[in-house]
Amino acid sequence: MSGRIKTLSDMLKKGEISSAELTRRYISRIEKINPLLNAYVLKTFDEAIRGAEYADALIKQGKAGALTGIPFALKDNICTDGIETTCCSHMLEGFKPYYDATVWQKLKSVGAVLLGKTNMDEFAMGSSSETSYYGAPKNPVNLSKVTGGSSGGSAAAVKADIAAYSLGSDTGGSVRQPASFCGAVGFKPTYGAVSRYGLIAYASSLDQIGPLADSVEDAAIIYDAIRGQDRRDSTSCPTADGVTKLDGDVKGLKIGVPEEFFSEGVDEEVKKSIEAAICLYERAGAKIKKVKFPAMKVALSVYYILCCAEASSNLGRYDGIRYGFRAKDYGDIDEMIVKTRTLGFGKEVKRRIMLGTYVLSSGYYDAYYKKACLLRERITAEFDEIFKDCDVLLTPVAPTTAFDIGGRSASSVQAYLADVCTVPVNIARLPAISLPCAVTKEGLPVGLQIIGRRFDDGRVLSSAYFFEREACVKVPLCKEVQL
């Protein structure tokens, strides 16, 4: 059976529906469902209608590609020329970028239809999307639960089908973890596989744009459309030619299971679901091997040191002079900058800037930042060693399923622990996918994470495709969202 994107694309190409009509249907769904979910923070329906007209012209000329005419959403930290992009922060309220991010430019050129910008943690700092200036989005599987984060709005929109697919960004799990919490598929490509030009920087050595989708097949289609080297991002690299092949053949596939990902803090139900998924691979002829990843115990600390250090530097640019918000009452320019930043940033952003400033400050730089850099190399080396004898690794995406909205303080070590299974991937710049592998007794989805070698993104997607096809996990939406 075809996935959502291929089904819609076939309908468009056969002339069963026009892109304009499809777009109107999505707009009407958004009007009904978004007030329940708060997944979109900006609706761009004029842009969508313009895009749909362009797409219909392409289809008529026989020039339609896989994503032509299909309505989608962008996370609110991806720049769109002339369309407000706020990172869900008061600091960038009203900011209209003057150029397009490369990913948006690529999608626009093939006739993708932009429905709007999605909710997220402020400046992508968080794991529940609750730090958003516009309030937390709600999980379409259970409205009392968080969507995960930071790409929470993107995951919720895709799951509720108020966007056929979306793009998010993943610095420490921000695509994979919300996908896991909402029962969607989230793919974080290898660092460098997708251009970051136009992605508002949080932690540049860790940030990566990736798709959130209804199926693995959809994720592969989107990945193929956005990947490749970009002269405007010097960290981007050439990727493999051609279309990503999803044969789903896992016979002889060497799968590593790092036991540290299943240790303390991982819910029993999550653990059992992942173990059952591993058995499915084994029955299909994959070779399972337990592996050790001792650096896991420091990965989260290393991650928070590096990302806060980079954030404190990256967010130094918000001075009230060149972007968005500027405080009103001030004496001189220094006071203006301090007041602008104090009023413009939320609590969690300030906390991370302070922590980043601390680990970079004279006297602590050697003790924290430099050591974190060394440990980053150790973590990378440990993964490289494991991948000498394994093709992919299977792990949980998060230690728990989606938790209650307001149930955890966003600014606590306990909240940071939600990222423990995802951050090692960003530190080592690896590709990884999250896909639903079970539904708990409470009706919440559990995500399976598949991690691959750098630039072996195709194998990650193909291995995930196998599971999706064989396990056929269905995650039902809550009844309020079923329309």
Binding site: Y98, S234, K297, V298, V302, I337, Y368, E377
Partner: protein, 97 residues
């Protein structure tokens, strides 16, 4: 690890942020908890760090750098349409008196 109020104030100054006394007091314990958490790395590596390479050095293959090509800049009016601008410049309060 304990952090003094004075240190927090210095950090705030470096970060170009301002906190009221009350905010600072509320901020302190969470900040200490976070530092303690980050201290986990010190159990792995102690002592001299002079041989550690910076993270940037392992990120980029410098041989892949492209040629510099001069292109047209973004138009001033477009950039200034977002912010407080005057006569083609970013506008701030007078700095030189």
């Amino acid at each position: 690890m304990a952090i003094t109020e004075k240190e927090l104030k210095t950090l705030a100054k470096l970060s170009r942020l301002e906190f009221s006394e009350e905010e600072l007091a509320g901020f302190k314990s969470g900040f200490e908890e976070m530092i303690e958490f980050c201290d986990g790395i010190n159990s792995e590596i102690g002592g001299d760090t002079s041989s550690i390479r910076e993270v940037g050095s392992m990120q980029t293959e410098w041989k892949d750098l492209r040629e510099d090509v001069v292109e047209e800049s973004l138009p001033n009016e477009k950039i200034l349409s977002n912010v407080h601008g005057e006569r083609g410049y970013f506008a701030v309060k007078r700095v030189v008196k």
